[in-house]
């Protein structure tokens, strides 16, 4: 029986690093040596921790003499390149973790702490292997596809067109790797992508280019009569005769779903202005009604906002939205949760009357206001909706004028066509193009003209092909003919631009690249500052925290409506916005990373403030709010989004919270759980109520579980004062069992022996470990920026970045500057 192939993959890393040294000079020498050091460390640990464990517990059956199950472990090495070998390691980890191995009949079982150390070691190696797979630094050419958001941003910057990537006609959702959605190796292309890219290019160019007459701007006024249709429509003339047609309003109750809808008939796709005149009445102390316009066919919320204006003082809301051509049924929803009062008694009366005032409601309908006229439920009164568009700022469009740069009087010959295509392609591909590359597209334009297209049409065909080329859809790094470990300036421009703007480089960046200056440290530093000050940096401020903290998991298991009736889509969005805006605020102030761990402020809107029980915050907009200790908030860890993203929809999950902290904050993901872990037991109905913590403790009494859980659980249990959706509590609501709901115990002891009594003290411990957090954060930032996993070979360089930032107390913008100006950022 052949032994598993054992190959010291770390050597490969070392060799690669040495190659890098040779190629890149001394700048990379220390990194290479550090990588070698890391590899050596891994090897040392293998010998020090794993081998003795194997010798003690495994080799009797899986050694030189005997290989049960064809497995020999005494000489098993780490090989990142061999999925089979890494699979063996994973299997070993799972078996010893679950207690399957060694088998029950052995004389002496291993100690839990030894199991934990071995598992941790193997888990670390598995992560490294995984990261190495995501990293394509060894490839001659790295091709990393744009995410769909990056595609949309690029299209906008290229052509001024808003492309709705999330519409059904948009692009498929991108997968993530540990939350990061821009990892080249996982962003594959499917046949569906190809079709979508072709359609998208055509659609975008059709809108961007003025190939026909200016689209007719149409104005649609949808009155309350139109909104309600049916019996109301027949009243319009009568109400006009009375002189009160303009007072007729559509009353919209909470949670009305699709009761009120209207089709937006869009003949020409493009930018539209939508105006809604309305009032929104809020019950005293309650929530304001919330207007939501949802286009069902494209699954898109066009607009959403709390409305808080008196009946006699309606306001006009105006927003712009991009709409594709077609008939779009738009639901006009009052998206405040709660029972829909019109579910009962919504019939019209014997005489249909249209709503003109709260005093003219039909007596058997549900009451909207109390006897003093104060609202008793949040409702909307809509006067009208107007749809105006498409809005074309100029005709021909700015994009058209830029592309057809010669104007109307230009000679439409092949030279002109070639120059048009060249200019466009260089912008689209973010680099100069060769004549060979250009020829293909020029020929395409010529062919199109031969087939009957006019000049402009043929150009469109060519440009469409340019937009479907790999150089547009992918970020290319490296050249097959002249491999280099370093990015050239154009590649650097794209890396930087997609890092901080999630979009293509602007002219300035490309000019710096063209001048060969971009890679210079001072230039980069200036560019980072310029780019972070640009409104486009909002994309980074939103996108990075979402990916780093895995905020897409918020609401993945929708909280149970019965257990958490207060939870709704608006709350969910507000939770995420708090975290995102918190990050943005730290970034804009160039504040310290420490504030992520604890702070005396946060970002709140009224919805979330009410949820937290904090008074004095009104309206939809988020603003900075100073926190008091009794608010029990501060930093990221006690934000509702973070607390709820690990919940399962019915209860909080301390273990998942702990795992999340280890992954996102400490940067030491624990080993995955073994298979067949039994669920937490449901207590007997007659037994006393127990907390999740108490149930977990029973679970942890199993020695095989205890080791890992000792590391994980305290980090989650510390936040037991927050329920599944992040509400503060002092007792845990338990439905099964007898007696009172048990009190929360958030205290704990970390693996290293430090103790804390609650989340506040844990945060202090984490603040003491800011250096570790900074390292973990920097790794996440690098993964996001470089669009690949980081490995041993990157770690030393990243440490340098972190250390550099430490001098400035880990200021966020400074840390970004350090990363961008570091060698690793220019490394392929």
């Amino acid at each position: 029986m052949p032994l598993p192939r054992v190959f010291p993959a770390v050597h490969r890393r070392i060799l690669f690093s040495l190659r890098s040294v040779a190629a890149s000079g001394l700048a990379l020498l220390s990194a290479g040596l550090s990588s070698a050091h890391a590899a050596a460390q891994a090897q040392e640990n293998l010998e020090k921790i794993v081998r003795p464990f194997f010798k003690e517990n495994c080799t009797k059956c899986h050694g030189e003499k005997k290989q049960k199950g064809d497995l020999r472990v005494d000489n098993l090495m780490i090989d990142f390149d061999s999925p089979k070998i890494m699979g063996h390691w994973e299997e070993i980890m799972n078996r010893i973790n679950s207690g399957d191995m060694p088998p029950d009949d052995v004389d002496k079982r291993p100690k839990p702490e030894d199991i934990a150390r071995v598992s941790e070691y193997i888990a670390g190696q598995l992560v490294e292997a995984d990261s190495a797979r995501q990293s394509s630094a060894g490839e001659r050419v790295a091709l990393r596809r744009l995410t769909r958001e990056e595609y949309a941003n690029s299209v906008h910057d290229l052509l001024g067109v808003n492309f709705d990537v999330t519409d059904p006609t948009g692009l498929p959702e991108d997968p993530d790797w540990h939350g990061i959605q821009r990892i080249g190796s996982v962003l594959t292309i499917s046949p569906a992508h190809i079709e979508k890219y072709l359609a998208a290019a055509d659609s975008v160019l059709s809108e961007a280019l003025s190939l026909g007459p200016a689209p007719k701007r149409e104005f649609t006024h949808i009155s309350a009569f139109d909104l309600r249709g049916g019996g109301w429509k027949g009243l319009e003339k009568e109400y006009e005769a009375r002189g009160i047609a303009n007072q007729v309003r559509a009353d919209i109750v909470p949670n009305n779903g699709a009761l009120d809808d209207r089709t937006f008939n869009i003949k020409t796709g493009g930018e539209y202005i939508v105006r809604v005149k309305l009032s929104g009445l809020r019950p005293p102390g309650g929530r304001a009604p919330r207007l939501r316009l949802y286009a069902a066919d494209i699954s898109r919320t066009l607009f959403e906002q709390d409305i808080d204006t008196p009946e006699d003082k309606p306001i006009v809301i105006e927003f712009r939205t991009h709409l594709p051509p077609g008939q779009h049924p738009v639901h006009i929803v009052n998206s405040v949760p709660g029972p829909n009062p019109e579910a009962r008694r919504s019939r019209p009366g014997p005489n249909t009357i249209a709503f003109t005032s709260l005093q003219s409601r039909i007596p058997w309908q549900m009451k909207f206001t109390d006897d003093d006229g104060k609202p008793i439920l949040p409702f909307l009164l809509i006067d009208y909706i107007e749809v105006d568009g498409p809005i074309v700022d100029s005709w021909p469009t700015a994009a058209h004028q830029q592309i057809f740069f010669g104007g109307e009087n230009a000679t439409k010959d092949s030279a002109y066509a070639r120059e048009i295509i060249r200019r466009f392609t260089e912008r689209a591909w973010r680099r100069p193009v060769t004549n060979d590359e250009l020829d293909r597209y020029v020929k395409l334009a010529e062919k199109a003209q031969q087939l009957g297209d006019n000049f402009e049409g043929s150009i469109k065909t060519a440009l469409s092909a340019v937009m479907c080329a790999k150089s547009f859809l992918y970020i290319e790094e490296g050249k097959p003919v002249a491999p280099s470990p370093k990015l050239n300036d154009y590649e650097l421009a794209s890396r930087l631009s997609y890092f901080l703007w999630s979009s293509m480089p602007d002219d300035h960046l490309l000019e710096l690249a063209h001048a060969g200056k971009l890679h210079e440290r001072e230039t980069l530093r200036e560019e980072v500052r310029r780019m972070l000050a640009d409104p486009k940096a909002a994309d980074f401020a939103s996108s990075f925290p979402r990916q780093w903290l895995q905020l897409r998991r918020v609401g993945m298991f929708p909280p149970d409506k019965v257990l958490y009736p207060d939870y709704d889509e608006y709350l969910e969005k507000s939770m995420i916005n708090e975290t995102v805006d918190f990050f943005a605020d730290v970034l804009h102030r160039n504040a310290s990373l420490r504030e992520f761990l604890d702070s005396n402020w946060t970002m709140l809107n009224e919805r979330l403030a009410k949820f937290y029980g904090i008074d004095g915050v009104e309206g939809d907009n988020f603003r900075r709010v100073t926190l008091k200790p009794e608010d029990h908030r501060g930093g990221l860890l006690t934000q509702a989004a973070v607390l709820s993203l690990t919940s399962d929809g019915t209860r909080h999950r301390p273990v998942h919270r702990g795992v999340w902290v280890l992954e996102s904050i400490i940067g030491k993901p624990p080993p995955p759980p073994p298979a067949n872990v039994p669920a937490l037991s449901t207590p007997d109905a007659n037994s006393r109520k127990t907390t999740v913590r108490q149930k977990l403790e029973a679970h942890r009494s199993d020695a095989n579980c205890a080791a890992c859980h000792r590391r994980i659980d305290p980090l989650g249990l510390a936040f037991d004062n927050y329920d599944a959706i992040g509400r503060w509590r002092t007792v845990e609501t338990v439905h099964a069992g007898t007696g009172e709901d048990p009190k929360i115990d958030p205290s704990g002891e970390l693996y290293d022996g430090r103790t804390f009594k609650d989340a506040v003290e844990l945060k202090k411990i984490l603040l003491d470990d800011t250096d570790k957090f900074a390292n973990a954060f920097t790794e996440k930032l690098a993964t996001y920026a470089l669009r690949r996993g980081t490995t041993f070979s990157d770690r030393a360089e990243l440490r340098k970045v972190t250390e550099q930032a430490k001098a400035s107390d880990y200021k966020l913008a400074s840390l970004i500057e350090s990363l961008v100006t570091s060698d690793i950022f220019q490394k392929r």
Binding site: W364, Q365, M366
Partner: protein, 598 residues
């Protein structure tokens, strides 16, 4: 509960002051203004004016009516606010229960415009006497003179002689003993009598319509009327108004003008913890669709409230509902259904929704949106918005609903060439000059017509708009009573013929219609009234003129009449008998107009 009635007023009494009342009364405080009705306040006793009169018309649906004042012969219109009551045979009654022509004492409040049309209550003679424990001991029967001589007495108070009384009788007088009708001749001295009257006037003490003999008979008729009223209430729900709402609790004061009977009848249904159903209603006590509208609820509190006022039952309940409805609002009227009471839609017209009914409708008994939702009308209407200006007619534009001011009057002059026409208003006798607005319509005999087609002297309904000077001189619609009734699918069914008194009693009958189950159904009468006829009244049957004596009980009539003027009661000019005759008259008018156009 009945209260002391001030029977006659001495001139000196009016000048007296009575510190118990902060308003003018029939007997004191002449220097003070009359009581003005206030929301959620039952008018205090003695806040009213009391007028004796004979009921000549009753609109059951809208709870309105007319009576002819005994002293002056003038016609007074009245309306019943939600709490207003009718006392008949010493029991609460519905207008439906009361025979036309019965003499009542009407208790009327100022309607806010200086007119005493707002009824607090009305009592027949039986109720007035029995309410004071009076009765009449028959002393002597003088049938030859049409008289009964009696002594007024109060047995419970041991007052055997409160004065002599002379009761007038005629052949139409009915006499009742136990459950039986007996003859006048059966009356014997010593009999204990109570009676009701008709025909009382300045010159006549009136004639007994009915005489009830013996205390047991009195008790029985009262009990029968009490049971009849209670049966109706249990079908339609106990009315009351909402004093307060708080969260899901609704505080309702229930209406009744007979506190002891109310308690006796409903105390068990209105106890704390009892399940009830609460239904929204309007000021006419009409519900919309009780089987669907009803809000299941329970009584959480019962309390006593003062009863020194008209219409207050003395019982206030706090009802907890599952859902608060718009109609559960301070000041609004509701009906409460006790546990186990059957909740059904009222017959067509009595309810406001008339769910499931199909067929010819009567728009005047449908929900009146100008009354129920006045803010839907940005102008004054005949039903509300008194502080707003009237709608101004715009040339070439059809005016909106309820924008016209409807006035009854008798056509006096039609000058087609000069476009000047006149009518004299009903009852007030004011002469109004008017022109028919281009686009306006004239209906005569339920067909399109010209003003010249309508005989001078015919009472019409004029839909008027103001001219530039604010005078209502612009007529958009003119229609005679025939057209008005026919357009509402209503005929007048003869219920009694008293031609010797020049009187025909009629019930207002709707055309049959399909009910919820699709069955043709004849609905209960919408109202009743007395038509007066003279020897000049023309009667038509088919295409022939017939005599008044050809009329029979049960005939379905359409009529035209004169207006009511001081000293000249309105009388029928023409009567058309039977639906075929009505149809023929309409066709004839239509033909006439067509011919004229040719």
């Amino acid at each position: 509960m009945l209260w002391p009635v001030s029977l006659t007023l001495a001139a000196d009494d009016a000048a007296k002051t009575d510190p118990r009342y902060p308003f003018r009364t029939d007997f004191a405080n002449a220097n003070l203004p009359w009581y003005q009705p206030k929301p959620l306040e039952f008018p205090p006793h003695h806040s009213d004016r009391r007028i004796n009169g004979e009921l000549i018309s009753a609109d059951f649906i809208h709870r309105t009516g007319q009576f002819r004042v005994s002293k002056t012969g003038e016609v007074v219109e009245f309306f019943m606010p939600p709490y207003a009551s009718v006392h008949f045979l010493k029991a609460e009654a519905d207008l439906r229960d009361v025979p036309l022509g019965t003499d009542f004492l009407f208790f009327l409040n100022d309607d806010g415009h200086g007119n005493f049309t707002r009824l607090a209550t009305m009592q027949d003679q039986f109720s007035i006497d029995a309410g004071h424990s009076f009765s009449y001991k028959l002393d002597e029967v003088k049938l030859g003179e049409g008289k009964l001589l009696a002594t007024k007495q109060s047995i419970p108070k041991n007052q055997p002689d409160l004065g002599k009384a002379e009761l007038h009788v005629n052949a139409a007088t009915r006499v009742w003993k136990d459950d039986q009708q007996i003859k006048l001749e059966d009356l014997k001295p010593g009999d204990e009598l109570l009676y009701d009257l008709t025909g009382r006037s300045a010159s006549s003490p009136g004639v007994c319509t009915d005489i009830w003999v013996g205390a047991e008979t009195h008790q029985k008729v009262t009990e029968a009327q009490t049971a009849k009223f209670a049966e109706r209430v249990k079908k339609l729900g106990l009315p009351g108004w909402i004093n307060k709402t708080e969260g899901n609790k609704v505080t309702v004061t229930l209406f009744s003008d007979d506190v002891p009977t109310f308690k006796k009848t409903y105390a068990d249904d209105l106890a704390v913890g009892k399940d009830v159903a609460l239904c929204v209603a309007n000021e006419e006590l009409r519900t919309w669709n009780p089987p669907v509208d009803k809000e299941k609820s329970s009584i959480v509190e019962v309390s006593k409230v003062p009863t020194e006022s008209y219409g207050c039952s003395g019982t206030q309940v706090v009802i907890q509902v599952a859902y608060m409805l718009e109609g559960f609002r301070r000041g609004r009227v509701v009906r409460v259904f006790g546990s186990g009471w059957t909740i059904k839609d009222p017959p067509y017209g009595q309810g406001l929704m008339n769910y499931g009914y199909r067929g010819p409708t009567n728009s005047e008994i449908q929900e009146n949106t100008a009354k129920e939702y006045p803010l839907q009308y940005p102008y004054r209407t005949d039903y509300g918005n008194d502080t707003l200006p009237w709608f101004k007619l715009k040339p070439g534009q059809k005016p909106p609903q309820y924008s016209e001011h409807r006035v009854l009057g008798e056509l006096v002059k039609v000058d087609a060439e000069k476009h000047t026409c006149q009518f004299r208003t009903d009852r007030t006798g004011e002469t109004v000059e008017f022109t028919l607005v281009p686009g306006g319509s004239v209906q005569y005999l339920n067909a399109n017509a010209t003003l010249a087609d309508i005989p001078i002297g015919t009472r019409c309904t004029f839909g008027l708009y103001q001219d530039h000077n604010g005078a209502f001189s612009q007529a958009w619609t003119v229609s005679d009573d025939f057209s008005h009734l026919a357009s509402q699918n209503t005929t007048l069914r003869v219920t009694a013929l008293k031609l010797d008194q020049g009187r025909i009693d009629v019930g207002w009958q709707l055309t049959k219609m399909k009910n919820y189950n699709g069955d043709m159904e004849l609905e209960p009468d919408l109202g009743q009234s007395i038509l007066l006829v003279t020897p000049e009244t023309r009667v038509w049957k088919g295409d022939k003129q017939v005599k008044l004596t050809d009329l029979a009980v049960g005939d379905l009539l359409l009529v035209d009449r004169t207006s009511e003027q001081s000293g000249q009661p309105a009388h029928c000019t023409d009567i058309w008998i039977g639906e075929d005759t009505h149809k023929a008259a309409t066709e004839q008018q239509a033909k006439k107009l067509a011919t004229a156009k040719k």
